[in-house]
């Protein structure tokens, strides 16, 4: 029986994804994943889907009535948010571009067919699959409440899924381009966001303080504009169409679907063009004439390896985006979390603890970014100890820069004392050394290739995610707790206490270094196979 090319593509994609996951996760990893999915499904996905089903069931009877006038913008706004969040997160974090276009382009396939397969494959992403389940439940709820609308509801479901998938594809490609070409834009964005967070901090009402009338007026105007924007959203038009159909105007209901459906298809065409161009841009770059480059020189192999690691991190998309983390941290602390009490105790340690989380994906997979080059590194006359020391130096430079940026952003917002800052730095050192010590083992235990030129499909294996979460939690409780406790109970001992902890962490790091190096030497073959 002949199989359509799109189906053949999807089958090949499914088979290779399954084989890759099984190989990477190993037996215990598969069980851990099954357990996690079962827990999440039972306690998160199913209750959420049930909630959405009930919401649809409750809203359904209101469609086509006077109450429907106010229900449609709300539904449209919520669905717009779902589409936007799903598309943005999916695009930036890994949902987009599931298929290997580079390989499949050699087949006699029209790009639109490839795009169709790509969109279907995108449904396999956890986030999109979850959103699809939620949208399906909402639609089902609406359909049971208003059975006459079921055919139209199916169209609405398809157009929303299309919008999510296309948006994530477009944003994935755009993020790639931004990371590739616009370093300046990233820095500018950081400055803007930081300034915005400062202003937000000034404007946001504090507990117990009434909102002043001028601010109330500004907020009212903003709300009016926001409502106008919501009414113009394709998702709101889709809901308006349902409302019209419920009132008996089926033709109007169908016409109103043309906007979301047409927009989805238009964006799909744009995405196909963009992906095609992306492939063409993969051709080798023409050589440019210019000044002679500066060559490195270093005294010890570890120093050279450190510079190499730092350069690798700084030239990777993940590494570049890592410098947004200090800004995100400051926004979180200054914005949504500003409402929590006792900020003077937890803000500084919390910020450093949160920043340290980003280092997990590099520290717990230290050879991931070396790619084929890992084979080259292992062919050099270097022992495990030198390799790990080199990696450590690279991470010191990279994470040290991140920490300095965080300090620079926090000083004008919190005005911490020098003692507090130094104590916080000691805490960051504790975090870093613990990460590095555990990471030296996990990097050999469960290595995985990290694509330097993409922000996508670089997630850690599930087992490693669990280990990283455990280590982060332990560090936060131990070091963050010590910081807060010392500041609260014995402020005079804050700096000496944290310095002592940093010293102990350094000793512990040194104590396990030899064992980590020996483990690395035993696992070189596994690393080469996984990364090289």
């Amino acid at each position: 029986m002949a199989v359509s090319p799109v189906r053949a593509l999807l089958t090949a994609h499914f088979q290779s994804s399954l084989a890759r996951s099984t190989k990477e996760l190993s037996r215990q990893g598969v069980w851990a994943l099954v357990l996690l999915v079962a827990v999440l499904g039972l306690f998160v996905a199913l209750p959420a889907a049930f909630g959405l089903f009930m919401a649809g069931f409750a809203v359904g009877p209101k469609l086509g009535t006077a109450e429907g006038d106010s229900a449609t913008p709300i539904l449209g706004g919520v669905l717009g948010l779902v589409v936007a969040v799903g598309g943005i997160l999916g695009g930036l974090l890994g949902g987009a571009k599931k298929l290997s276009w580079e390989q499949y382009r050699i087949f006699p396939l029209h790009p639109l067919r490839l795009l169709g397969a790509e969109l279907v494959a995108g449904l396999g992403d956890v986030l999109v699959a979850g959103l699809a389940l939620g949208l399906g439940a909402l639609t089902l709820g609406l359909g049971i409440a208003r059975p006459a609308l079921l055919p139209l509801l199916l169209i609405v479901l398809v157009e929303h899924l299309l919008l999510i998938l296309v948006l994530q594809l477009l944003l994935g490609s755009l993020a790639q381009r931004i990371a590739k070409r616009l370093k300046v834009a990233v820095w500018a964005l950081m400055v803007l966001v930081w300034l915005g967070s400062m202003l937000m901090g000034q404007m946001s009402p504090r507990r117990g303080h009434p909102i002043n009338p001028a601010l109330q007026q500004v907020m009212r105007t903003v709300a009016e504009h926001a409502l106008a924007v919501i009414r113009a959203l394709p998702t709101t038009w889709a809901m308006d169409g349902l409302d019209a159909a419920a009132r008996g105007h089926l033709a109007k209901g169908l016409l109103l679907q043309l906007y979301p459906l047409g927009l989805g298809l238009l964006c799909a065409l744009g995405a196909a063009k963009l992906l095609e161009r992306e492939q063409e841009a993969l051709a080798p770059v023409a050589e440019k004439a210019g000044t002679k480059e500066k060559l490195w020189s270093f005294r010890t192999p570890a120093e050279g390896l450190g510079r190499l690691q730092f350069r690798t991190l700084m030239s990777s998309h993940h590494g570049k985006f890592g410098f947004l983390m200090p800004v995100v941290t400051v926004i979180l602390v200054r914005g949504p979390m500003a409402q929590f009490q006792g900020q003077s105790f937890w803000a500084i340690p919390g910020a450093f603890a949160y920043l340290a989380l980003f280092g997990n994906q590099f520290q717990f997979n230290q050879f991931g970014m070396d790619g084929h080059g890992v084979k080259g590194l292992f062919l050099l006359p270097l022992g495990g100890r030198q390799l790990l020391e080199g990696k450590l130096r690279g991470f010191v430079m990279y994470q040290g820069l991140q920490a300095l940026l965080l300090i620079a952003l926090m000083v004008p917002l919190f005005w911490p004392s020098p003692v507090e800052l130094l104590a916080a730095l000691c805490m960051a050192v504790c975090f870093f050394l613990t990460q590095s010590a555990v990471g030296a083992f996990t990097s050999s235990w469960m290595p995985r290739r990290i694509d330097r030129t993409s922000l996508k499909n670089n997630q850690m294996p599930m087992m490693l995610v669990l280990v990283a979460m455990g280590v982060s939690l332990l560090c936060t409780l131990l070091f963050g707790g010590a910081f807060a406790l010392l500041k609260w109970q014995a402020p005079a001992f804050l700096l000496p206490g944290m310095a002592l902890l940093a010293g102990l962490a350094w000793l512990a790091h040194g104590a396990v270094k030899g064992e980590a190096a020996a483990y690395l030497d035993r696992r070189r073959e596994v690393i080469v196979e996984a990364v090289g």
Binding site: P284, E287, E293, G373, G376, L379, L382
Partner: protein, 250 residues
Amino acid sequence: MTYEPALELTALTKRFGDKTAVDDLSLSVPRGSFLGLLGRNGAGKSTTLKMATGLLRPTSGTVRVLGLDMAQDPIAIKRQIGTMPEDMALLDMLTGPQYLRFVGRMYGLEDGVIDGRAAELFEKLDLAPGPKTLIADYSFGMKKKIALCAAILHGPKLLFLDEPFEGIDAVTNRTIKDILLSLQSRGTTLVLTSHILDVVEKLCPLIAIIDEGRLKSYGTLEELQMGGESLESRFVDLVGGTRTGELSWL
């Protein structure tokens, strides 16, 4: 003085799960010789080379390089050998000169020495990348050339080359051959894998044929060609390949 071969593989075996990639392979390569390791795709040539260079651990058997045991002294061995893997294993976020500086320093060479040797190699191999062109943006042939430069930069006593002539043009092919022959004439031992019989026949006085992980034949070219058989016929006889190339639907 005791005779110490440059490379000595004894009962070397490598298994990946149920699959045996190299099976009880023993081989001794004298110093200063040029060995061509011949075999079909998947015969176990690259796996053998990876074990000989310390990238893979043998399941059983021993590897001795220049009188040292790979399991005991991997770092001392790596200081004296050069390797060009099939996929080149380059640090492609560096430019060519930066990469050679990095590799040279790892072997303890001075900056001046590295730069002098690199300039000579670049000239001989007609390698002229743009000043800031990353290796990632090199053509395939240029990558092969820079990988060869890195493998010989420190003057190794034993050089391993995995499919060095794959995917390069005729002129570069000729230059690389000349460089390899000049290395041999200065006493360097060379081990080269290839499935191109022509290359091995013209370059390597010593030939080993591997099939399904086992050593099928080992000796000089003359010994293999005894009875007037061509190397190709002898090779096909040993590995049991098919002789007809007709397809039923064409």
